[in-house]
């Protein structure tokens, strides 16, 4: 009986959602009065085990093999899934990165366990996990209960609070042997095409500045980018801006784009269609800049500016620059 966290790493770095998930795993284990243990799969990732331990993992299962160097769904699912079947933890958690969303269903099927995705809150009721998650594009919230002994959940990034790591801890590592199967060799990650912008990932960003059709032309996104960089923010876009070819698909927020939960979401020239709201209405604070006082985005905005974005945004950027300069 213990709480497990699958620690998601990429290229030898733990992902931010993994740290949030370890923190939540620790809290649940404390509530249950049981241990929190982590699994990490990869190649040459032993160096990450102490960092995992610093978030409270009492044991780290290390599965190291060349074939696990990059994400390989069948191999990862077998490596982690068979270990779960063997050790029978009560709860298994993973952060909702694109790896987590892809991998956990495979593991759940292998193990034969219930799984709830995109969770924003986890509770222990009568010794069992209860997961709270939005569904139907954020229009409802549901409570998910489990009938399986092993209870699995994927946590929405940017929602669960990260603990202060205790860097004095060293990991208690258990190495788990792994041999690739035929199936594992039928899939291979052959290339990673980097589209790094130097800005934070939308799903993990504290602040997002998004532009819509109101930006009028792709070059005007320089206004959004300048404001974003000043705030250390990610840049998002409405579907209209993406479909016009002004922004890449990876920037789209909404029902057919990304779901984001930043501390602050600034919507610039975005009307606030229901499909856009589906992706961002769970942001903690929302600021809208729009010239139409009746734009639906104002219904969800904590602070709405009715005005011409081409005047408002440059002024806002100037003011923030002044403040930052004063701070030195």
């Amino acid at each position: 009986m213990s709480v497990w966290v699958i620690a998601d790493q990429r290229k030898g770095t733990l992902r931010k959602p993994a740290l949030e998930t370890l923190s939540e795993g620790r809290r649940l284990a404390d509530q249950l009065g049981t241990s929190m243990e982590a699994v990490i799969a990869g190649h040459n990732v032993e160096g990450l085990c102490n960092e995992i331990a610093s978030y409270g993992a009492e044991k780290v299962y290390l599965i190291d093999h060349e074939i696990l160097a990059n994400y390989n769904p069948p191999a990862y699912a077998r490596a982690v899934g068979d270990l779960i079947k063997d050790k029978q933890p009560q709860i298994v958690l993973m952060g909702g990165t694109m790896t987590g969303r892809d991998l956990m269903p495979r593991i759940a099927a292998r193990v034969g366990a219930g799984l709830a995705p995109d969770c924003i809150k986890l509770e222990i009721v009568d010794g069992k996990l209860k997961a709270i998650r939005p569904a139907i594009a954020g229009k409802v919230r549901v409570e998910i209960g489990y009938k399986s002994d092993i209870q699995m959940a994927i946590l929405r990034p940017n929602v669960f609070e990260r603990l202060e790591p205790d860097t004095s801890k060293t990991a208690n590592i258990e190495k788990v042997p792994f041999e690739p199967s035929d199936l594992d060799t039928k899939q291979r990650l052959v290339e990673f095409v980097s589209k790094e912008t130097g800005r934070p990932e939308l799903t993990e960003a504290e602040i997002i500045v998004s532009g819509g059709r109101g930006m009028k032309a792709p070059e005007n996104f320089a206004l959004v980018e300048e404001l974003a960089d000043l705030l250390g923010a990610a840049v998002g876009a409405s579907r209209a801006a993406v479909d016009a070819g002004w922004r890449p698909q990876s920037d789209q927020v909404g029902q057919t784009g990304k779901t984001v939960s930043p501390n602050l979401y600034i919507a610039v020239g975005i009307s606030g269609a229901i499909q856009h709201l589906a992706g961002m209405s769970s942001s903690k604070f929302i600021v809208a800049i729009n010239k139409d006082p009746d734009a639906p985005i104002f219904n969800v905005a904590d602070f709405g500016v009715v005005g011409d974005l081409f005047k408002v945004v440059p002024l806002l950027t100037e003011e923030i620059k002044k403040i930052k300069a004063q701070e030195g």
Binding site: K139, K186, A301, I323
Partner: protein, 264 residues
């Protein structure tokens, strides 16, 4: 090569959700083919048009209204369809859904080279079913793809997954599973003649018994998870709205950012 596309009937994206006795009130909902599945059907039909695929089979599990979703897939260009319909299926979680879909593939006997899914159904929103099916069948999988190249003769596919900070390019042996999303293609609007033609394309119905499953293995009884309760998300109250000279409104906005929510 034959391919199978999985199609779910879901509430239209414009739907306003209402609750009745702590459950979904489905009385005024309009249903459509899941938008993500449109990308999957479109991709399959394009492969057929490119001469790489000779049959596209659309499969849905759901109540009678799922037949309409299948008709939409047939109108885009799928050749035939399978509808798995049984009252006992109500309340099935994703694990059971995947299990039933796998059974239907076995029953039909189609020799598929690829299984295409949507990345997610826009109601359940779990993204679970494709990976569960892939694991049950022991197949490679590439989720959330925005590019796909298939070479049936060489027995392989190359797919680009849209992930944080870039694209993962996965090479897979066939048969494999892919999940489709926006950015992969632009689904066509079916022409009127094709909509008419779709009405004459074959739809095979299966009941649970046809698939050799018992009611206890599916629905609420057979599931590992259950939806305990529904609620509406906390309503976001509209806050302040300021209008006026740009210089003045910006001062107020800066004050909000700096003093109230402290992001500056």
């Amino acid at each position: 090569m034959k391919v199978v596309v999985f199609c779910k009937s879901v509430p239209d994206t414009e739907t306003r959700v209402r609750l009745k006795d702590n459950r979904l009130d489905k009385s005024e909902i309009k249903y459509i083919l899941n938008p993500y599945d449109e990308f999957a059907v479109e991709e399959a039909v394009r492969m057929k048009e490119a001469g790489k695929v000779d049959e596209v089979v659309a499969v849905s599990m759901g109540p009678e209204r799922a037949r309409e979703a299948l008709r939409s897939a047939l109108a885009i260009g799928a050749d035939r369809a399978i509808l798995i319909k049984d009252d006992a299926l109500d309340g099935s979680d994703t694990y059971v859904t995947a299990k039933v879909l796998v059974k239907a593939l076995e029953k039909d006997g189609v020799e598929y080279g690829m299984l295409l899914f949507g990345q997610q159904a826009i109601d359940g929103d779990t993204w679970h079913v494709p990976g569960q099916v892939a694991e049950m069948l022991g197949l490679p999988q590439a989720g959330s793809i925005i590019k796909l190249e298939v070479d049936p003769d060489a027995g392989k596919a190359v797919a680009n997954r849209l992930v944080e900070g870039g694209e993962e390019v996965h090479e897979m042996a066939l048969p494999c599973v892919v999940t489709c999303r926006k950015g992969l293609n632009e689904p066509r609007y079916p022409s009127l003649p094709n909509i008419m033609k779709a009405k004459r394309k074959p739809v095979q119905d299966y009941s649970l018994a046809d698939l050799g499953l018992s009611p206890e293995e599916v629905g609420r009884a057979g599931s590992f998870t259950e939806v305990l309760s529904y609620s509406l998300p906390p309503k976001k109250e509209a806050g302040r709205k300021v209008e006026g000279e740009p210089e003045e409104v910006v001062q107020e906005l800066v004050k909000f950012l700096k003093d109230e929510i402290k992001v500056l």
